[in-house]
């Protein structure tokens, strides 16, 4: 697939850009933060995004989706990145919704996906058990019990966990932490007995929660996909989600880079605009190269999902490693070039810096993905 947008995608990009600029500018995130909003975003706006077809973008028309691809979803995520729109695409679409799409039975799909596409149902995937991303380090136990299982363990960093209507929990039906086999996915009702959810206050003001499972009973029909082979599903989810995060980071990177170049053209020091200083010009030129290369790899990675390409995992790691580094470079240089004002909470650059760091450290940082990229390249 070409690395340039089709006319339809260009149109989608404009719509998304307008919508985000008008309905969820950066001030929207700030206001949610300062008002300590219980939900962490506006359910109304999420429904509007659903009506625009964005939430259901990946899902079949049969469940109310738009049946488009990641190329399209990437366009939306990039625009959301530009305004730091804190909406639950990661939790409800890329991780939760797609888990059900890939592994769910017809009845599970029919029960949940229409609500997702309508923007009414929120999902969360509870897999991580420590701060650093180690996809197979899952200790949460799923012991078989009368007509089902009993789940016990603790999950951290569960995105949108405190507002999810359904939790998808990754637990061990066999094997031990680090094993690829033995992981099973379960659909769990957040109100189930023995389950407690504690929202955590994050640096990027996004939603995350700790989920404790103390002998939570689910019946056999709660299994998502087949027993013991959850890792295959998780890997697919993480690759696509990493690429989705990278797409959001492209938006962050473009926005911060454009704002910084603009600032260089207007801010005066020593009687001239600072954009005339060659040292800053050259650093801006270096950033430009990184921004260009970053966009290209993400565009290709998004298409690799749609084409189900063989090298998808390698491209996912390439995109996530690249954008983790570029987002860090551009937000740090952006703040430095803004000078003292960039250090104030009042200026928005700091909010981009915080979100970029969170995105960098989610689903594996640059070092994790360079290592994986190397392994997948045979060294």
């Amino acid at each position: 697939m070409a690395l340039v947008l089709t006319e339809e995608q260009e149109l989608l990009k404009e719509t998304a850009a307008d919508f985000c600029r008008n309905n969820v500018p950066v001030t929207h995130l700030r206001q949610l933060r300062d008002s300590k909003d219980d939900v962490g975003f506006s359910r109304k706006i999420w429904k509007e995004m659903a009506e625009l077809g964005w939430v259901g973008i990946l899902f079949p028309e049969s469940v109310g989706g738009a049946e488009l691809g990641f190329a399209e979803l990437g366009v939306v995520l990039e625009e959301c990145g530009r305004t730091l729109a804190p909406y639950p695409f990661m939790s409800t679409v890329l991780l939760g919704g797609r888990a059900i799409l890939l592994a769910g039975s017809e009845s599970q799909q029919a029960a949940i996906l229409p609500g997702v596409c309508a923007g009414e149902t929120l999902l969360a995937l509870a897999f991580q058990e420590a701060g650093r991303f180690r996809p197979l380090d899952i200790e949460t136990k799923a012991e078989s019990a009368a007509n089902g299982y009993r789940l016990s363990g603790e999950k951290v960093f569960v995105l949108d966990g405190h507002v999810a209507d359904h939790l998808i929990v990754a637990a061990r039906t066999s094997g031990s932490s680090g094993d690829r086999g033995g992981i099973t996915l379960f659909l769990v009702d957040p109100s189930a007995e023995g389950l407690s959810i504690e929202r955590t206050d994050m640096v990027d003001n996004r939603n995350a929660a700790r989920v404790r499972l103390d002998a939570v009973s689910v019946d056999a029909s709660a299994v998502l996909g087949s027993v013991d082979s959850g890792a295959d599903i998780l890997e697919k989810l993480f690759d696509a989600a990493a690429i989705g995060l990278a797409a959001e980071m492209v938006g962050i990177v473009n926005e911060v880079f454009e704002r910084t170049v603009e600032y260089l053209k207007t801010r005066e020091q020593f009687g001239v605009v600072i954009g005339t200083f060659q040292a800053l010009k050259h650093r801006a030129a270096e950033m430009f190269c990184e921004v260009e290369l970053s966009q290209a790899v993400v565009l290709d990675a998004l298409r690799a999902i749609d084409e189900d390409r063989q090298d998808l995992p390698r491209l996912a790691s390439a995109a996530k490693a690249r954008l983790s580094d570029t987002a860090s470079l551009v937000t740090c240089e952006g703040l430095q070039m803004h000078g003292g004002i960039g250090m104030t909470d009042e200026e928005e650059i700091g909010l981009f810096l915080k979100r970029a760091k969170a995105a960098e450290l989610t689903l594996g940082d640059a070092s994790y993905h360079r290592d994986r990229f190397a392994r997948l390249t045979g060294f």
Partner: protein
């Protein structure tokens, strides 16, 4: 010593501060007084000024803050607009200062003011001291991205400062200002806000004995529980290499400071090379904070609440705060300019 000080040399003072850091004592609040205004008064103040202010500084009775930067001036310090007009034996001061460290906790301010508006921009500046409790002074803290607000904006509306507190010659403030900035850089290159070295984990006596023989990396010890290890090496090879590089940087930086302290003839103040230390320390400190974040992973993404340890939250705030290191006290860009001009004597 004549003015009640300890009579320590620059090198001795640095050692003192290193020691204090080593025992995790937070730098004394009178920093601004002892490290910056003190030496400046000794060099430029008259007898009366020394007698009036130095003892209080050394006894830490009076907290001082620095009125240098102004909104919009940024790195171009000399473009300051705050006016001081003589009225009898007082100067009437109008204008505002920004990035004034802990102004809300300070008693007095040493301040750059414009006393000759029509002179060339470096020639119309004077250096004056006054009481922050004077009528017409308003102080509003600035909230930083790290949530802290150790900086303030200070507004002056017809504030009256006594003329006897004008230090050095009228309109001769720029020379004093530059000198004082060198002291600031020297101070900052001794330690930056943002770095919090966690206390090393308790060791069994055997381990402790070993620690005497073998140098340890606080950063590596801090990363170990998050990252894990393989045959005694941190499991994340790229992160391990970054930590090694940081420890190398910090070792070489310390030796470089030691060397310049030794070669600085006693009494001689900080040189232009201080810009090098300020520059290197700022960038090194930012790298250290980035490494800390990489080590913690998502555990470093907490802002508040019990889900994250106090140390984790402090490291996260410290990472954000460290971004200011290469801006405060003269940006890294300004330091590079100074090195290129003063040390390498490259042409303008």
């Amino acid at each position: 010593v004549a003015y009640g000080g300890g009579g320590l040399s620059g090198a001795e003072t640095r050692v003192l501060f290193q020691e204090m850091a080593a025992i995790d004592a937070r730098p004394p609040l009178m920093n601004m007084g002892t490290r910056m205004l003190g030496p400046t008064l000794l060099e430029f103040g008259n007898e009366a000024q020394k007698k009036e202010h130095l003892p209080k500084i050394t006894r830490g009775e009076v907290q001082w803050c620095q009125g240098y930067s102004e909104p919009g001036a940024g790195s171009d310090l000399a473009s300051l607009q705050t006016r001081a007009v003589l009225d009898g034996d007082h100067y009437i001061i109008n204008g505002s200062k920004i990035w004034t460290t802990n102004a809300h906790l300070s008693d007095w301010i040493f301040c750059l003011v414009r006393t000759a508006p029509d002179a060339a921009k470096h020639d119309g500046i004077s250096f004056i001291l006054f009481d922050l409790k004077s009528p017409g002074v308003t102080i509003s803290p600035i909230q930083l991205i790290s949530g802290q607000s150790d900086f303030c904006q200070v507004f002056f509306e017809d504030v009256r400062a006594h003329a006897r507190n004008l230090v050095g010659p009228l309109n001769g403030g720029w020379t004093i200002a530059k000198r004082l900035l060198q002291h600031e850089r020297a101070m900052l290159s001794g330690g930056m806000p943002g770095v919090i070295s966690r206390p090393p984990p308790k060791k069994k006596s055997k381990g402790a004995k070993k620690a005497v023989v073998q140098p340890r990396s606080a950063l590596a010890e801090q990363a170990r529980p998050y990252v894990g290890e393989v045959d005694g090496r941190l499991a994340d090879a790229a992160l391990r290499d970054r930590i090694a590089q940081h420890e190398l940087d910090s070792l070489c930086f310390g030796l470089s400071l030691k060397r310049s302290a030794e070669s600085a003839k006693s009494g001689q103040g900080p040189s232009a090379a201080t810009s090098m230390f300020k520059l290197y320390m700022s960038e090194m400190n930012k790298r250290r904070a980035e490494i800390t974040m990489s080590a913690m992973g998502a555990d470093g993404l907490g802002w508040s609440g019990e889900a994250f340890t106090a140390a984790e939250r402090a490291d996260t705030r410290g990472w954000l705060r460290s971004k200011g290191n290469s801006i405060e006290g003269g940006t890294s860009e300004v330091q590079r300019n100074i090195i290129a001009k003063r040390v390498l004597t490259l042409p303008d």
